[in-house]
Symmetry: C2
Subunit: 240 residues, 2 copies
C-alpha cells in the first residue's frame, strides 16, 4: 500500500502529525506537496479533492490521506486509521479509544496555540489582529498552557512514566513531541517555564526525536523548518 | 448496560450531542448532572473523575461517559464508541470513519461558534471581551458560517439527499440538527440567511426533531432550553 498525503506545501502544519506517524511506521508514502504540479502534485492535486464535484466524501480541509480507495480527513481520524496499520496504536479496543481521546485533546490544544496569533479569524493577517493576539496569548500562557501540559504530564505519569497511552511508543507520543517542539519555537520563554514541572514531557520529546527513523527523517531535509506561515509562530511580543 | 453521562448541569453544551444519541438509540442512561449531590450526582461526582488522583485515564473536560469499566472522553470519541452500539453508525468500517470525520468537522464548527462570544478566552466573561467578540462574529458570519454550512449541505447531497453519512439516520445527523437549532437560537438573523441555500440541512433538522424518541425527549422537560451560559448564546449585537 502506498499512502498519499495531501497537505499545503511550505509548512509543517497539521500534516506533520501524519508525517511523523508515516515515518516512524516505516510506511511507503507520497507527500503530494513535494510532487511538482507538472507531475500531478502540489496544491492543484489537493484542491481537486476539496472542491471537485466528483468526490463522494470530500474533506473539509487538509491534511487528508488517500489509502487505496479510501479518502480520510481530519488529522486525528487519519491517525486513528493509520495507528493499528503502522504498529503505532494500542492493541486493545479500550486502549485505542484512549489514545484517540488524547489525540483529540492534543488537537484542541493545537487549535488554541494557533488561535493565539489568529484570535479573530484565519482570513485575516496576524498584523490585522495584533492587539487581540496579545490579549489572547496572555490568557493562553497564564491559564491554558499550564493546564494542558499538566494534563499530558499526568497522563504519562499514570501510564507508567514513559509513554502516553501504551507500554511502547505510539502515534500520540509522536504528536505530543511535535507539540513540545512547536511550543519551544513559538514561545521559547513561556514554554521553558511551563515545561519546567513536566520532566516526563521533556523526556518524551527527546525520546521521540532520538528514534532512528525520526532522526533520519529530520536529517533528510524533508522535514520543513518551523516558520511564521505555520501553525506554531514565533512573535516575540506574544511570548511575554 | 446502564451508561452514565457526566456533564455540567444547567446547560446543553457538548453533553447534548451525546444525550441526543442516547435518546434516539433508546439507551438506558443516567444523566449524572440530574442526580442530586446527596445521592452521589452533580458536579462533585464529575470533578472526582477530572481531578481525582486514582483515575488511570482522566478526561481533560466533560462530557465523558462511563460504560462499565470504560471511561470515555471527547464528544466525538464518545459517539464513535456509542454509534455502533446504538444502531446509529454505518455498518462498514469506511462508513464509520467517514461519519467520525464529519463529526470532527462539526466539532471544529461548534468551537468556532463558541469562540464568537469568547474569542480571547474561556476564563473571561463575555462582557470582558465584547469588542473582540463583535469582530470575531463579523468574520465568522461572513466567512466561516457559509463555508461550513455549504460543506455539510454538500455532504448530504452527495450522500443521496437525506442523511449525512448513511442511508438511515445516525449520530452525525442528530448532532447536525442540534447545531442548526443552536445557530437559530444564537444568530436568528444571520442563520436564516445562511440556511436559505441549504434546503437539505433545514429538512434534516426537521426530520431529527420529528423522530418519536427525540420528540418524547424534548417534551419530557429533560432537554434544557438554550441559554446564555451555554455554547450557543444569543447576543443581538453579534448577530449583525
Amino acid at each position: 500500500m502506498i499512502y498519499k498525503l495531501y497537505y499545503w506545501p511550505g509548512i509543517q502544519g497539521r500534516g506533520e502529525f501524519v508525517r511523523l506517524a508515516l515515518e516512524e511506521g516505516g510506511a511507503d508514502y507520497l507527500d503530494i506537496a513535494l510532487v511538482p504540479e507538472e507531475q500531478g502534485g502540489g496544491v492543484p492535486a489537493m484542491l481537486e479533492f476539496l472542491d471537485g464535484p466528483g468526490v463522494a466524501r470530500p474533506p473539509f480541509a487538509p491534511p487528508f490521506l488517500q489509502a487505496g480507495r479510501k479518502l480520510i480527513g481530519q488529522t486525528a481520524n487519519i491517525l486513528l486509521f493509520l495507528g493499528p496499520r503502522l504498529g503505532l496504536a494500542p492493541r486493545a479496543a479500550a486502549g485505542r479509544l484512549w489514545a484517540h481521546q488524547l489525540q483529540l485533546t492534543l488537537a484542541d490544544f493545537v487549535l488554541e496555540i494557533h488561535d493565539t496569533h489568529h484570535p479573530i479569524g484565519g482570513g485575516l493577517y496576524y498584523e490585522e489582529q495584533k492587539p487581540e493576539a496579545k490579549r489572547r496569548s496572555r490568557e493562553f500562557l497564564a491559564q491554558r498552557l499550564p493546564k494542558f501540559l499538566g494534563y499530558f504530564e499526568r497522563a504519562i505519569e499514570r501510564n507508567g512514566g514513559i509513554w502516553m497511552a501504551d507500554n511502547r511508543l505510539g502515534y500520540v507520543d509522536l504528536s505530543m513531541a511535535q507539540v513540545v517542539a512547536g511550543l519551544r519555537y513559538a514561545f521559547p520563554r513561556a514554554s521553558k517555564n511551563a515545561l519546567r514541572p513536566c520532566p516526563r514531557l521533556r523526556a518524551l520529546h527527546d525520546a521521540v526525536f532520538a528514534r532512528p527513523r525520526i532522526k533520519r527523517y529530520v536529517a533528510s531535509g524533508r522535514r520543513l523548518a518551523f516558520n511564521n506561515d505555520d501553525l506554531f509562530r514565533h512573535y516575540p511580543e506574544l511570548d511575554a
